[in-house]
Amino acid sequence: MKAARHEKEWGRVVGPVAGILILLAAVLLAASLCSAATGPAVPSIFKPESTPADSIYGLSLLVLAVTGIIFVIVFSLLAYVVTKFRRRASDGPEPPQVYGSNQIEIAWTVIPVLIVLVLFMATARVIHAIQDAREPKGAIEVTAIGHQFWWEFRYPTLGIVTANELHVPVSDPSHPTPTFLKLLSADTDHSFWVPRLAGKTDLIPNRVNKMWIDPHETGLYVGQCAQYCGMQHAKMLLRVYVDSPEQFEQWVQEEKKPAQSSDAVNEGRRIFETTACINCHTVSGTVADGRFGPDLTHLMSRDTIASGAAPNTPENLQTWIQEPDAIKPGSLMPAMKLNDHDLNALTAYLETLR
């Protein structure tokens, strides 16, 4: 008798449970909508600013709508069944034994098949539109090379090499200047992901991948490496600066120039060129032509160092040279252990690399 009452109480709880779950789903939905509407620094996939991201956004709304409707229907059905058919206190004999129904089985096979077909056709269109897009004349070409744990960007037609901060021109729909990226890797797998501009594509050693973006608005778009690539995968951040055509042209002209250095920082330059720095870093117009680390010719034109791990300030630069592990433990930059005098001279030289 006690057991029966016990069950009845729990049976009564099940109704509210369904309510709680529905509420939870609603909270989830509201929350995701709210967060999609927050500040510009949030790299949300629901705030696209480029055609590939935009087509994916459109498709995602369709998929969300279809799955949302299925969710509501099946959820309600389940909630109804567990509320309506729970055992009552007036415990009678066994319920009628039903073994199945072919008509019903056919119905709930055919309807999902039709839904799948519709979803697939919508998806296939978007796959084709994004993947098989032709490169128009006037497109910017960039070769992005993933390294542990930073990004190398080479503009073969413009003769520019830079790192971690990609500059591209805004693309006016009436006069499109999209950027086509060729993706390579120098070591392990990486993945290029700037959610507001496009879906991610992996950078895989021994393989050439492609992707493209055509940002509609100027500004800074953040992202980061999305394929686990080793110890500092977390701090392989990615910044894409979308410039107006004039800004971009000016940036290109600046970047094309070799490094300018004044006599005042000759000592720092000597230290740079006689220590291990040049094994890994390039400063164009000097003997430094290493390829393992980022090109430093225009280091000061960048807002961050260590692939976005720290703002590019003189103090951070000194920390980075002396003790990279303080900023990014496990990065491949060695601790240089210079004395204070050499460190100051070296930093002064680096600060002239504009």
């Binding site: 319920p95 039903v98 019903i104 089985e105 992901w193 879906g199 496990g330």
Partner: protein, 557 residues
């Protein structure tokens, strides 16, 4: 029924010295003891894997946290994933299968009892070998020498250039050894189910649990073999100078992905099909109705088994396949949703018109239905390859597969624990504690994994040991970590309940649920060799026929 003649075997069980009794467990070839060994072993690793998950969540509770170093974090997520898949879910489900299959098909043991013992000990030693990595090498400092390449260990991160030392070797060899165990168990399941059924039990009259485990075992043989091959190739790369995956020397990183995922995707179904099996046994008993559409359930399972071998590259939508390949794997992945949906509808059909009793096993199965529905729908989102280009490798994916593994599979495992605990131990668990367990774990699960979808849609990739503030991710990570507290509380109640009931539980009797399959016809716990007299069945629910001679099932099947 059969139980009275069996008392002979139970003579002086409690009076023998503890050394002798332990020796019995080590050398046993009895499927019931091996099943329990599998389950206990998996429970131990569930706790270990849970601790690793907790460390991960503490590290991510705020941006730029310094709870653990990046290296320890990377080791934690690698070990968490590897442990949960290979040393919790597989042995747990194999354990229930090993325990239940002979009982449910009216057999006295598995087809190959000694292979059964061999398989268990291979799995056990595989896990121990993997965990030896913590104390080999650097000792416990910085999590020792534990692997840090991620649970799918993408090449070329596993090559000697990027993974010096022996951490990757522990991973490779641990999985290789336990893989032999898995294949042995799969062979044993197939042989047992095909050859050892009691008289009258045609394939069409087997309990669904046997059918589903048969399909699962076939998939294990097909899926674990490529993984084993890949592990051997990787070892040859590392020690004998081959270049299968060594991209520095012209090998292919993508080849590893194909090898891994042709294992890895069917693996998901290898885990979820036994979970379906539990649900297909528990829901009918607590709804007091037979399973709705038995033949369709079998067909849908076989269909899932086949189709799941053609979907592996949906894990690789971002590696730059052609638009044709992306379209192909999109449609195959979406198609898996159809038989899976049929199953959900059939379970609803089973409950429809029933008299549902919400005891703990049923509560967990109802939780499973709601959560598996959601997991399936996020799976459909991920199958649309362009949408996948945004979501893959983000926290959305992490949330999705935890919805499957925890929300669906772990929930049904808890349900199975409560359902068969009386059979395995002869004692009832405590219903109040079981319900505390359910509600705490349900709340914890939803706090953690519902909100984990959101940072993924806001651009947060997985496997990062820290993240930048100001990207809208902080609040969600905080909520996710808070959920862990509830989950831990739930699991503590669960373990406490098991231990307490083992000592203090009421005597269960042979058939506490008024159920219908053969395991409930013998005593609890069943005697050695299960049945004094091999039963003869006429329908899928032999005990229903006995209890309702006026209205037996065999008239309708």
């Amino acid at each position: 029924m059969a139980s009275e003649t069996i008392a002979l075997n139970l003579v002086d069980r409690g009076t023998r010295p503890i050394g002798d009794r332990l020796h019995d467990w080590v050398v046993t070839v009895d499927h019931k003891k091996l099943g329990i060994l599998y389950i206990l072993y998996a429970l131990l690793f569930l706790v270990i894997g849970g601790i690793e998950a907790t460390i991960i969540r503490i590290q991510l509770v705020v941006p730029h946290n310094h709870f653990v170093s990046p290296q320890v974090f990377n080791r934690m997520f690698t070990m968490h994933g590897t442990t949960m898949i290979f040393f919790v879910f597989m042995p747990m489900l194999f354990g229930f299968g090993t325990y239940l299959i002979p009982l449910m098909i009216g057999a006295r043991d598995m087809a190959f009892p000694r292979l059964n013992a061999f398989s268990f000990w291979m799995t056990a030693f595989g896990g121990l070998l993997l965990y030896f990595s913590f104390i080999g090498g650097n000792g416990l400092y910085g999590a020792g020498n534990a692997p840090d390449v991620g649970w799918f260990a993408y090449a070329p991160l596993t090559s000697r250039a990027f993974s010096p030392g022996h951490s990757t070797d522990f991973w490779t060899l641990g999985l290789l050894v336990s893989g032999f165990g898995s294949i042995g168990t799969a062979v044993n399941f197939i042989a047992t189910i095909l050859c050892m059924r009691c008289p009258g039990m045609t394939l069409g009259k087997m309990p669904l649990l046997a059918w589903l485990n048969l399909v699962m075992a076939g998939m294990v043989i097909l899926a674990v073999s490529p993984l084993t091959a890949a592990q051997i190739m990787l070892s040859i790369d590392r020690y004998l100078g081959a270049h299968f995956f060594d991209s520095q020397a012209g090998g292919s990183a993508v080849l590893w992905m194909h090898f891994f995922w042709i294992f890895g995707h069917p693996e998901v179904y290898i885990l979820v099909i036994p979970a379906f099996a539990f649900v297909s046994e528990i829901i009918p008993v607590f709804s007091r109705k037979p399973i709705f559409g038995y033949p369709v359930m079998v067909a849908a399972t076989v269909c899932i088994g086949f189709v799941s071998f053609s979907v592996w590259a949906h894990h690789m939508f971002t590696v730059g396949m052609t638009s044709y390949a992306n379209s192909f794997f999109t449609i195959t992945t979406m198609v898996v949703g159809v038989p899976t949906g049929i199953k959900i509808f059939n379970w609803i059909g089973t409950m429809w018109g029933g008299k549902i009793q919400f005891r703990a096993p049923m509560l967990f199965c109802v939780g499973f239905l709601f959560q598996f529905l959601t997991a399936g729908l996020t799976g459909i989102m991920l199958s649309a390859s362009p949408f996948n280009w945004q979501l893959s490798n983000s926290y959305f994916v992490v949330a999705h597969f935890h919805y499957v593994l925890v929300g669906a599979i772990l929930f049904t495992i808890f349900g199975a624990f409560y359902y068969w605990f009386p059979k395995m131990t002869g004692r009832m668990y405590n219903e109040t504690f079981a319900k505390w367990h359910f509600w705490l774990f349900l709340i914890g699960f939803h706090l953690t994994f519902d909100f984990m979808h959101i940072p993924g849609m806001l651009g947060m990739p997985r496997r990062i040991y820290t993240y930048e503030p100001g990207r809208g991710w902080e609040i969600w990570n905080l909520i996710v970590t808070i959920g862990v507290i509830f989950q831990i509380a739930g699991v503590l109640v669960f373990v406490f309940n098991l231990l307490r009931s083992l000592v203090k539980g009421e005597t269960a009797g042979s058939d506490p649920w008024d159920a219908w399959t053969l395991e409930w016809s013998t005593s609890s716990p069943p005697p050695e060799y299960n049945f004094a007299k091999i039963p003869v069945v006429k329908s899928r629910r032999p005990l229903w026929d006995i209890k309702h001679p006026e209205d037996p099932d065999w008239k309708y099947e």
